[in-house]
């Protein structure tokens, strides 16, 4: 299953009140690729993710998704409608519903009508991808380990019938071995569901393992664009501003 859905962000400015976080940021996610957005804390990765989802409203620029050949303008769209188009965010820090069970969390992933129609099918897929969740379906999510919670977060995204998956800092709060496992899970999800992936990460070495292209964001500006994973690793600028070598 190859994806034909991509994302094109051109020159967006966004922020909170008087604070400008993003200035003239452009980014392209070609269909079927995994694009990684690198940057340390406070450089605007999450704001960019939230802008795509409609949770933050950019003051300039454009965000256009191509979904099965159709152009959809996402700018100014409400989050619930963005989700309906199959653009699904796994938020930073997982942000699950701790007082609900695994199954209830997964069901909430299929809240919109489009995803609800495929609820049973996606639930089965979810349990196939993450067998651990099937064993724990009645457990309260708040009582699970960080790695298991990460599975619930990814599983919840599967339930939303995604075409473009946005993942915001999946490595936060996880042990190194689990970060590595998480990257593999995302790659597996991408292959199984035929996704296009945009992932924000600060763990450079783990992220480039699964990336086709990379961007580096510093203080709300893109300092390095495009290229392959190898190109990223060799780039002088990246080594200097991001890796501090």
């Amino acid at each position: 299953m190859a994806s034909s859905s991509g994302l094109e962000i051109t020159g967006i400015d966004a922020g909170y009140g008087a604070v400008r976080v993003l200035e003239g940021v452009s980014l392209s996610v070609p269909p079927g690729q995994t694009v990684v957005l690198l940057g340390t804390n406070g450089n605007g990765k999450t704001t960019l993710m939230r802008s795509i989802m409609g949770q933050v409203r950019p003051s300039a620029g454009s965000i256009v998704a191509t979904l099965d050949g159709q152009r959809v303008d996402l700018l100014g769209m409400k989050p619930e409608h963005v989700v309906e188009h199959g653009i699904v965010l796994v938020p930073e820090g997982r942000r699950l519903f701790p007082r609900l069970t695994v199954e209830q969390n997964l069901r909430l992933g299929a809240y919109r009508a489009v995803a609800r129609a495929k609820l049973a099918e996606n639930m089965a897929l979810c349990f196939e991808l993450f067998p651990r969740l099937a064993e724990r379906r009645t457990q309260l999510v708040g009582s699970m380990s960080g790695g298991e919670q990460q599975m619930v977060a990814l599983g919840r995204a599967v339930m939303s019938a995604p075409r473009i998956l946005l993942v915001d800092e999946p490595s936060v709060g996880l042990a190194p071995i689990l970060v590595s496992r998480t990257m593999e899970m995302i790659a597996e999800m991408k292959a199984r569901l035929g996704l296009t992936v945009l992932m924000a990460e600060q763990n450079f070495h783990q992220a480039v393992r699964i990336a086709d292209r990379g961007y580096v964001i510093v203080h709300g500006h893109m300092v390095f664009e495009g290229g392959s994973a190898a190109e990223l690793q060799d780039n002088e600028l990246v080594r200097k501003v991001y890796l501090g070598l």
Binding site: P79, E80, P91, R95, F97, P98, R99, L100, L108, Y111
Partner: protein, 310 residues
Amino acid sequence: MNANLRFWLGAAALGLALVAGLRLLGNDYGYFAGYFVLQYVVLAGAWNILGGYAGYVNFGAAGFMAAGAYSAIVVRQWLGWDLIPGIFAAAVVAGLLGLGTGYLTLRLKGVYFSIATLCLAVVLQTLVVNWDYVGGSRGAYIIHARDIPPFNSYSEMLFIVMLALAIITTGIGRAVEMSRLGRGLQAIRDNERAAEAVGVPTLRLKLVATTLCGALMGVAGAPLPYYSGYLNPEAAFSLAYAVNAIAMPLIGGAGTWAGPVIGAVLLASLQQAATVTISSALNLWIVGWMLVIFVAVAPRGILGWFRKRT
């Protein structure tokens, strides 16, 4: 569907048994005490929709309740409407009040939302005190017929009306809990940003919840002037309503449809017993102690305590 039918049949059977029991008792006091308890079942059930499922703590229950009570007085003076149409008017007025409050305050989260609802009650009370049409601070009288057949007495009729309202409110709470609306509200309670990210229309659901919560609180207050025959702002905006509306669901088990019923029956019966045997001045004292005990021993309420054991 089976479970739904069982719920409604069970509620109706329980209601009939209550009426039959009180008739056998043959004492008007039974109806008065029963009304007192049941109005809190409605109030607590209404609070639970916004506070228990969505996690937004409403401190303005007295304001919504009084809005309902005064709506009933206004439509009576203005249009000559009696109790039942008065209840509908109260639902509409308090529901709109809830919608408006929600629209203005739902950008606020946590304790800020609670403070805003507290302010609403104060503002409303000041308005009513200065509104001569409904008696201002002197209060308003409602003189009703002594008996209305087929009921044995007026208080029996009021009791049965409140019983029906309590059953309907509990049924609505249960329906909310089992619906997509309830699941969305629970998601908002647990993590509003994540709820947004999975496509829960958070603002719309919160507005539905504030409207429903407000309307049902208004409904709880509408028969109040008929019950006491006289209503002044001090009684209608009583702190007791605001405190009990929060304490009862918390003690019974917030976020479950049966929790507010259990909490209301327990706390209101205790308060009614204290009113008769000692003094009504002790009512809030009792609520305070119960809250302290429950926070220490069973922070998730009676239902939460049992659920943990099994």
